[in-house]
Symmetry: C2
Subunit: 231 residues, 2 copies
């Protein structure tokens, strides 16, 4: 009876945004007419928590972090891969402002969709609305896992988790160049950068990973998985 349930702190949504597929041709045109596309460079802030939300956003390409901060600490809620919606809370009249901040990890392309148009579609196309609910749900469940991970796992488990997650869900191979600084990696795992650096060293010494600068290589996936589950 020692089968602990496993929660992934993985902060990357796997949900494929299908909601636009449910629109009619006319509706698609309506969206096109009422949206603009904007480019962001690596490190640029895409939206600030608390600022007026006149649009829903869609990450067409790139990679972004969704986070909240209080001036001292930053909490990364999730990593957002391309083809995902952002700022959905603003469709509720209760939230006139963005509920979180978003920053581009790498150069990214954002589609801003007028909130009025989006709301109109929600009410006029129930299947679309249903898809949006699905997105919200996937989102919640993922946040629950991450919440558990950051509050109840300890450092090695968290870091192993994040590394596996990045490899599996973003880069889709064992070797990848990580576009994040050590500090960003630390903030993602809810640790100090010093701690992360020390831990990476241990992982390397134990031949779990190979690191050269920003190049990461998973050498022992099996053991890594085990650490992420038990640690």
């Amino acid at each position: 009876m020692n089968n602990k349930t496993y929660f992934s702190g993985c902060s990357i949504s796997m949900h494929q945004c299908r909601c636009f597929d449910t629109l009619t041709e006319n509706e698609k045109k309506l969206v096109e007419k009422n949206s603009v596309s904007i480019s962001y460079k690596k490190g640029e802030v895409i939206c600030k928590r608390g600022s007026f939300a006149s649009h829903v956003m869609y990450l067409e390409s790139g990679l972004a972090k969704v986070y909240i901060e209080d001036g001292v600490n930053t909490l990364v809620l999730k990593i957002l891969p391309e083809k995902n919606l952002l700022g959905l809370a603003s469709v509720s009249d209760d939230f006139k402002t963005f509920e979180y901040s978003v920053m581009a990890y790498i150069d990214s392309e954002i589609l801003q969709i007028d909130i009025g148009t989006f709301k109109k579609l929600l009410v006029q196309n129930p299947v679309f609305a249903k898809e949006v609910i699905d997105i919200q749900n996937a989102n919640s469940v993922q946040i629950y896992g991450r919440f558990f991970c950051l509050t109840h796992k300890q450092s090695f488990g968290r870091l192993a988790d994040i590394l596996l997650c990045l490899s599996d869900r973003i880069f889709k191979k064992d070797e990848f160049e990580l576009p994040l600084s050590r500090k960003e990696l630390a903030e993602l795992s809810g640790l100090s950068s010093e701690t992360v650096i020390r831990m990476l060293k241990v992982f390397r010494q134990d031949s779990l990973i190979g690191i050269e600068g920003k190049m990461f290589k998973l050498l022992d996936r099996e053991k890594m998985k085990q650490i992420s589950e038990t640690g």
Copy 2:
């Protein structure tokens, strides 16, 4: 420039569930016909994370905790006051099972609504769907705040936060009888029960609160607020 943003770890949704108001008479009857009401005693498990979800739930009366656990640790996602929906994720086909567990803090009445019926309403009544989206949003935003609180505030801030929250949102007065054990209060604030007990002692010594067994009385709300913001 030292105005830190304040996140409440308050785990109690203030959202009033309005979604049923949007239904027509016929739809209301449909819901009534396809739902059952069940009583739970204090401490009873209302649903288990991972079990099949054939229904959405509505807490008619009582008070419950929504949580996830891995066999060792428990994370309380939120406290659920009466008149709130539960287990919404199961309306998504991706989630056939409950995404969290629920336990009654006090004797509670639960309405189980057939999932098929609920889904049907979602697709047939867009205003209803919109209300459900609003509920999801309120939920997410609240969890974000709690997430931040439990990961970045320290013990005194967290406990002050929870106490204020219970007083404000559940009991709606400064003096109340808390139906939770010290251990449950601890788990709610992400601390060990020993730590919570010690902290309560400090609060009492500083005349911030009065405690006698399960009776709590907030004596210095102002200072309490301050601790919850800075600590």
